[in-house]
Symmetry: C2
Subunit: 335 residues, 2 copies
């Protein structure tokens, strides 16, 4: 059966395009408090997995041993925009662990933050690995490899101890087998697939780590605190994640992922939120996570966040010609 | 009922994202030879409407009166990439009809063709109205206004004689009411909504205009000939429309539209093809039109066109990590 339409985009009097998807919200006991659409077929969380991929870095003691700041922990969970605030910090962190940019397994891609990208084009500069939005995650992987005393080359391979530590932590928190399916992410690291329900359960355990072991619970709390404290390091200037976390005033952590995924962590409610848009559209995943946070009364009347829920569609003359908005199934969803 | 999944995007062993949509193929007698999904709810053809929006320009005699070349007729039907081959020709055409760029109602947007865009950034240049992908269409509208002897200001308004001429031609060919719903397109001109079935019928009449009046039939033939002759003027270097028309070696005309629409015109078969991806994804509309042309044996074994049917998904290391491909409903569709 098809997943419900969650978001619609209008033009004039008609709905022009629609986005279907699934939503799972769970508590730390594993109960699904919301289940809309198919939440049992494995999906790739993509970059929304990063808070969980960072767990072994902190839990193992690597973060402490290498004196990681909360800013660096936030960067380990980031899909950053390649702004100087990101690249300068990642470069310093790499130096501190005795690595260089050459040790990063991620490839270059255009810098997302347009002012920096324009400057680079004007200067004839090419993006490098450190500009990859995942360079903080990869530096976290390198830090863990150093701490474990294992070779750093190959740290992005599925059978490397770093990735196996990630798989183990994820399997534990999500309640799935460590042999879960996986694919290669845009940054060359493994991305593990799991049901949206299981992903929401894992996120709920970051929101409420009280039942976890001491070291793991402390690691979960530190990751959530670091992300909530540095929304722009987790994403970038003007990005949806930063906008929503700023609007949440520390009460919520969100993380986007490619192909229409969003993760949410709400410590005060002990809830984990996971959603996937079937067609992979970011415009829809942003609308859905913003609408859900609005329903949970976590956006504090913030205008920029509100515009993620209902966004005008504008044309090249800056006239409003339509609207992107929650469809009925999302509008009527009670949390 | 949900439309069928037409395209799937894989990563590793799993399908990561899917795209649903509808397909209508019709002949000039109005018979639907293919009808998949909902083909009766009105959709916006967006820029795939341009060959029909150009009909009054040619049919009225305006194109002849202003000595339009086939290159200019192709540009009237174009969503161009803002390359010099486009902007230089549009500028010369504007001068010839006694207009300037200031007369264009479309707004500026970043130039699509990256080498030109990079040069503009490096020189600190801003895009202007002539860089709008629709500047040829708008120059066609201005040409028609000049020929009709009506004011050029306001030519983009729904009640202006130019747009009413477009509505009349479209209503005639599609067999719909002239009072069809409409919205404002990205370029500020009206875009008329009609069922995919009716849109396919109108395109079929461009493919086989034998039952149209003499002037209209001649205009249809000229538009199709101009687009088939100048694929890069209709789109741009390396674009899907150019790739598919080059692979078709003059046997097929295709035109993309925003929000996941594609139009196809196949004169030798007398067929019009119209498709819409529910979620608006261009990656999916390109896969569907390419797959349909492949089934019609119009791609002549062209590798670039074949890669539009089945495209590798690559990561930032240029490793292939998945595939974009026709889903079962499209694979098994017989034309």
């Amino acid at each position: 059966m098809a997943n419900p339409v969650l978001v619609e985009v209008t033009r004039g009097t008609l709905v022009e395009s629609v986005h279907r998807g699934s939503i799972a919200i769970a508590n730390a006991a594993g109960t699904l408090t919301v289940s809309l659409g198919d939440v049992e077929t494995p999906v790739y969380p993509r970059s929304s997995l990063k808070p969980l991929q960072a767990l072994p870095l902190v839990e193992s003691g690597a973060a402490e041993a290498f004196h990681l700041t909360d800013e660096e922990v936030a960067l380990a969970c980031a899909s950053h925009s390649g702004e100087p605030m990101h690249t300068v910090r990642v470069a310093a962190w790499l130096r501190r662990i005795g690595c260089t940019e050459e040790d990063l397994a991620c490839g270059p891609h255009p810098v997302r933050y347009e002012p920096v990208w324009r400057e680079m084009i004007a200067r004839g500069e090419q993006p490098t690995r450190i500009h990859n939005n995942c360079s903080g995650k990869h530096t976290g992987f390198l830090t863990l490899a150093r701490h474990l005393g294992v070779p750093t080359p190959g740290y992005e391979k599925h059978d490397h101890p770093v990735q196996q530590a990630v798989a183990k932590a994820l399997a534990d928190l999500a309640g799935v087998s460590i042999d879960m399916p996986w694919g290669v992410d845009g940054c060359a690291a493994p991305n593990f697939a799991l049901p949206l329900s299981a992903f929401a359960r894992a996120l709920a355990k970051l929101a409420d780590p009280s039942a976890l072991s001491g070291a793991r619970a402390a690691a979960a709390r530190r990751i959530v605190h670091a992300m909530a404290t540095y929304p722009e390091l987790v994403s970038g200037t003007g990005r949806a994640c930063a906008t929503l976390m700023r609007a949440g005033r520390g009460r919520v952590v969100v993380k986007t992922g490619a192909e229409g995924v969003f993760a949410g962590i709400v410590p005060e409610l002990g809830l984990g939120i996971a959603l996937k848009i079937d067609d992979g559209a970011t415009r829809a995943s942003e609308t859905v996570i913003a609408a859900l946070l609005g329903k949970l009364e976590l956006l504090h009347g913030d205008d920029a966040a509100g515009e993620l829920v209902r966004a005008p569609v504008t044309n090249t003359r800056n006239a409003t010609v339509g609207e992107r908005r929650p469809a009925t199934a999302l509008q009527t969803l009670t949390l």
